[in-house]
Every structure is written in C-alpha cells, then in structure tokens.
C-alpha cells in the first residue's frame, strides 16, 4: 500500500510547516469535488461553453502520405480558449478556488501559456491574480506578458536562480507562504507537492477521455502509439490517461533535447542519463542536478519544457516501462514545425512540436492500418516572436527594426 501522494517511490508532499493547514484544506476540497459527479459536470459544461471542448481530433492526411506509414491524427488542444491545454487545469482549479472562498490566485509560468490561462480564469471569476515568470522567459515570451497584464494580472519577473520556470515556482511558493489565507496557488503542471500532480492530472484527463472516443470513432480501433511532449508533463498525463489501461497502445513522452543530449544543454530528465532521484519544489522525482544535489541549468528553445524536474506520475510510468521517453533537439523541432505548417496548415507550439518530431521519426515504421495520435498541446501562432526568431526570418526582422524606429521617433 502506497503512502498518499506517492506513485511508486515518486511524489510526496515536502512542504514547509506554515503550509500544512493550507494543503490539508486543499486535499479536502479536492477529494470532495472528485467524489461529487455534479462538480465534473459543472467542469464539462464550463469547458464546453468557454473553451471549445471537446477539441477535435484532426486526421493529418498530407503528413500521413508524406511519411507513408501510420495514419497520423492530431489531438487539437491548441483550439482551447487561450490556445493550449493549460485552460483545462486552470478552469478546474478556478472552480475549486470558488469552493474554498479564496479571492486571489497566483501562478508560475514558463512559456506564458499557463500564466495567460490563469489570468483569463481570474478575469472570468473575479479573482485578483499575480503571475511569477522567470526574467529570461519574460523576454522570450513578451506577447504573453502583454496579454496577462491586459487581463488584469500583475506579472512579476523573477530574477533569482536561473530566471526560468523553476525559479518562478520558488517565488510563487514564497508568495503563498505569506498569503495563504486569501490566495490559492494554481500550479500549472502535474508536479509539486501532493495533491497537485494527481489533481492537475485529473483535470487534464479530459484530453485522453475525448481522444480515446474520437480515435475509436474515426479509426475503428485503438492507436498503435500516442505521442506527447513533456515539460512538467500535464498534457502528456492528460492524453495518456485515456490509454493507460490499453496495453496495446504504446505511450511516448518527448522531452527537450535542446542542443543535443551529449552537450549537457537540454532538459531531458528521463530520455537522458543525466538526471538522478532528488527532492525539490515539494516533491520527489528525477531531477537534472549535480552530485551535491544542486539543480543544473537546463536549455530548450521551448520555454515550457525548460525545467529541471518531471511529474512523479510519469517517472513512475517510465520506471514501470509503461511510457517510453525520447528527446527532440531544438533543430529537429524547427524542421518538424516547418513541415507541419506547410503540409497541414497547422501551427503547433514549439513545446508541442517536440511530440511531432518523434512521431515523424517513427511513422514510417508502422503500416497504413495503424494509427498514431500526436497531442498538439498548444498553438504556435501566439509564439510569433520566438518562432520568427528561431527561423531567423529576414522579413520579420526587417519589420521589427522598422517598428522599433517608428516607436523611437515618437
């Protein structure tokens, strides 16, 4: 019998005493919601009327023909309101915040998608909202900062540590230990102390529930493989839960290979040999850390994957051999993104494109009777600055230069 909050040997709740009562309350509210069918129905209604659920499963006919193997299907989480699967989690937690009677939400964000989703939820439900974002990510994802501020949130650039996602999480906790009476911390992924991994996975399970029904309807049987990118792991856990009980479906998590696994500049916790067991940010998992237990700097073109740890649920599934892990390099991501845009007229986020890379590598190994599903966790068109920069697009650079001159002249 496992301790509560553990998945195999991973997970737990390594929290300071000052948050003990706050977590007790959260576990209670979550358990009550989970036991209440009316809560899930309220959630489904909200996601149907506010966030375009169910999201479609798109048959990628041109890509399928291009690779000449498996039939490729894309689960379109990019069509959620705010452009990513993050909406599923924040709207669910927003309903819990209402039940707890709290009036303020805080969140960390890497790519800015979770921050925008959280600010949107706060605007809709009337909560005050503060978003912590690593200073490096503020620069990488400026348009998302703009929208968070327009939505009424305060965006705090975090200047400690490596100035990325992990540091934003630390700062959000520091806010929470001061303001827990009024404030809920809307953790954006399936990481952190119990009950966050399990609770966020529950809200994200809506992806897998839909995808399973959809692929059975259109393909007549289960897919051979399901691909998802893995930063913290929330979109992957979301879609994988639809197929965990089907041993014939192979599940593949794709991490950020950055500049290559042999360069050390990556964020591949489970696909590389560089991570080791550790306890940080409130939970036990495989972390990219040195021999002393100090966290290392990670690298990815995709801010949302640029993180030292990974969901304890996924580490358990990896250890048990249920989920296979691979890594995609920054360069492979740009090639796959270009191909997807040209062939299907679909623009995945840089994060999501990692899953496409691995699916493209393997599609040809399968035959035309088999299907694969790629989870497109978010859309890329909102990342125009990052993607244009990554493509080193000359006419875009010219436009930015002119726009700069125009503002400078005023």
């Amino acid at each position: 019998m496992n301790k509560p909050g553990y998945f195999g040997q991973w997970g737990g709740a390594y929290i300071p005493e000052v948050l003990y009562e706050t977590f007790r309350e959260l576990r209670e509210v979550y358990a009550r919601a989970k036991a209440d069918p009316a809560f899930w129905q309220e959630y489904l209604d909200l996601m149907g009327s506010y966030s375009c659920r169910p999201t479609p499963l798109t048959y990628a006919e041109n890509l399928s023909r291009h690779f000449g193997g498996a039939q490729i299907f894309i689960k379109r989480e990019d069509l959620n309101h705010t452009g990513a699967h993050k909406a599923n989690n924040v709207m669910g937690q927003g309903l819990l915040v209402k039940r707890m009677g709290k009036t303020r939400v805080i969140a960390e964000t890497g790519a800015g998608q979770h921050g925008v989703a959280c600010a949107t939820m706060a605007a809709k439900f009337g909560f005050a909202c503060t978003i912590y974002m690593g200073e490096e990510d503020v620069h990488r994802q400026r348009p998302n900062v703009f929208w968070m501020e327009k939505l009424g949130a305060t965006v705090v650039p975090v200047t400690t540590g490596s100035r990325t996602l992990k540091d934003a999480i630390n700062e959000a906790f520091r806010d929470w230990v001061s303001n827990m009476d009024t404030t809920h911390y809307v953790m954006g992924t399936v990481c952190g102390p119990h009950p966050f991994p399990e609770m966020v996975a529950w809200f994200q399970s809506i992806i897998g529930q839909e995808a399973r029904k959809q692929i059975l309807a259109v393909h007549g049987r289960l897919p051979a493989r399901v691909y998802a990118c893995v930063g913290g792991g929330s979109n992957a856990m979301g879609i994988f839960q639809g197929f965990l009980a089907d041993p014939s479906v192979e599940l593949i998590g794709v991490e950020a290979g950055g500049k290559g696994l042999d360069t050390g500049q990556h964020a591949a916790r489970l696909a590389s040999a560089d991570a080791s067991p550790g306890v940080a940010q409130g939970y036990k998992t495989m972390f990219l850390q040195d021999a002393d237990g100090q966290m290392r700097d990670t690298h990815s073109v995709a801010a949302g994957l640029d993180y030292i740890g990974v969901s304890p649920l996924l580490t358990d599934l990896w250890e048990k051999g249920r989920v296979r892990f691979a890594a995609a390099t920054d360069q492979e991501v740009m090639t796959a993104l270009d191909l997807t845009i040209k062939k299907e007229g679909i623009i995945p986020a840089l994060e999501s494109t990692h899953a496409f890379v691995q699916a493209f590598k393997e599609a040809g190994e399968l035959n035309g009777d088999q299907a694969i599903v790629i989870n497109q966790s978010g859309r890329g068109d909102k990342d125009i600055f990052t993607i244009a920069h990554a493509f080193d697009d000359p006419s875009w650079k010219e436009f930015i230069r002119k726009k700069g001159e125009e503002y400078a002249a005023r």
Partner: protein, 254 residues
C-alpha cells in the same frame, strides 16, 4: 552532552539565549570563520550553519542571494562538512545544520547524519521535511542522537504542534510569522497568543525566528521564548559593514 541538556544549562545562566545563522561559503569560508569567532566571543549560545541549496524555497531575498552566490563561488557540501567539523572542534557551543532535504537525500541520508554526528553537530533544521515525509530521517536522527528540530508556524493548530513536538528534540523553532526569512515581524497580541499556544504544546525550549534583528526584538521575546534567532540581520550586516561589525552587534542584543 545532547542539545536539549546543553541549552537548558545555558538557559539557567541567561534570561534568553541567542541563536545565529549563516550561509556556509558566503561570502567565503574565511569570512564565515571570522563571523563565527565574533559571534562566540560575544556570547552567542547556538549557531545554525546553512548548507547552501539552489532552491531555497522558505528563504527571503537576502538568504536566497547568499545561497546562490555560495554555490556559484564553488561551495560544495564536502567543504561545508569539513568547515563545520573545524568549528565544532574549536568551540564549545552547539552547532546545527540547516539545509533543505535534497542535500541530505543526495548525500545519502544515513551517511549524512552519521557524518554530522561524527563531526560534532548537535541537530538539523530541515524546513521542507515534515515528519510525514521524514520517518527514516527521524529514526536515524534518534539512532545517532542528533536533534531533529521541529518547526511550529502561526498556522499550526495546537493539535498539530503536539504531533510535531512528539517527533522533535532539542528545541522547537517557532516561525514568528507567515512568509519567508528576512522581513520585519509585528509582535502584537496575536503573536503573544501564538507563543502561548506553542508553550502549551511542548515543554521543550522555544526558539523564535524570522524578522528578529534588534535589541528591542530580543527584549520583547525575553520571558516569552527561550532562544531568539538572528538570521538575515547578521548576513545583511556583514554584507553592508563587514564581518568586524558582527561582534558589537551581537554584544548589543541583550
């Protein structure tokens, strides 16, 4: 002599004890050595040695910076252990380790605690290791006769405090307020009620930390707590005025 006994003995001679804190390797072990010398010479009763960690979740800006710079400057856990061994051998007052759980976990919990005992450390403060996650830590600490210092917070119920106290030894670290280390604490009526709650929950000595930075603060705690904890204040002092100011500052606290 075990920590609790050593503190009780010290407490018989003084109205309130002083516990100070520093981050190992920040700004350097040489400065740490000088600061500790001044602290001991000016009557500090117990010293917390913080082994730096890259994710110091419970700390405020000043101590975060100290952690980061110590690590960036090349401070290793092995250096911290060697330095602590030197201090414990040189001075009679008790030394404690304060750090985050990953440092122990990665070193090997049993190896770390055995080593701590061997070099003369008296106890550990691990703010991200609640007793629910610390079964192995607590049993090993008891095996090695190290005090696993437990932490009370203003949000802890009296029932919770009793549970925590049941797992602790040495003294209880009472966090004076919500929030992180390094900002001001308001010692009002609700603080007094909180301390009274702490007192009812345990017969162990009570240390009060977070935002204690002046003679006035120490005076307020005298008669209410057994130990006043000075953390960020001395780090800030060393940073702003240099290590030679630590002695006079400590001497002026009571």
């Amino acid at each position: 002599m075990q920590l609790a006994e050593q503190l009780r003995e010290a407490r018989r001679k003084k109205e309130i004890l002083l516990m100070t804190h520093l981050v190992l390797g920040y700004p350097s072990f040489a400065v740490n050595r000088e600061v500790i010398r001044q602290m001991v010479e000016n009557g500090v009763d117990v010293i917390e040695l913080q082994i730096p960690f890259s994710e110091p979740m419970a700390d405020g800006p000043m101590i975060i910076k100290a952690n980061q710079e110590a690590i960036a400057g090349g401070t290793k856990v092995a250096d911290c252990l060697a330095f602590a061994a030197e201090m414990a051998a040189q001075y009679e007052i008790p030394f404690l380790f304060m750090t985050y759980y990953n440092i122990l976990f990665k070193y090997g919990l049993e190896d770390f605690l055995r080593k701590a005992k061997e070099i003369g450390i008296k106890g550990c403060i691990i703010p991200d290791l609640p007793p629910e996650e610390g079964e192995e830590y607590l049993s090993l600490a008891s095996e090695f006769a190290l005090a696993p210092i437990q932490i009370f917070a203003p949000t802890s119920t009296e029932e919770r405090m009793r549970t925590l106290a049941g797992h602790g030894a040495g003294f209880i670290y009472c966090v004076a307020r919500r929030g992180v280390t390094g900002s001001k604490t308001d010692f009002n009526a609700s603080f007094d009620a909180y301390l009274a709650r702490c007192r009812r929950a345990t017969s162990m000595p009570l240390a009060v930390g977070f935002g204690i930075s002046s003679r006035e603060d120490v005076q307020i705690l005298t008669g209410k707590a057994d130990i006043a904890v000075i953390g960020t204040a001395t780090i800030r002092l060393v940073e702003e005025k240099g290590p030679e100011e630590v002695g006079p500052f400590i001497a002026g606290l009571r």
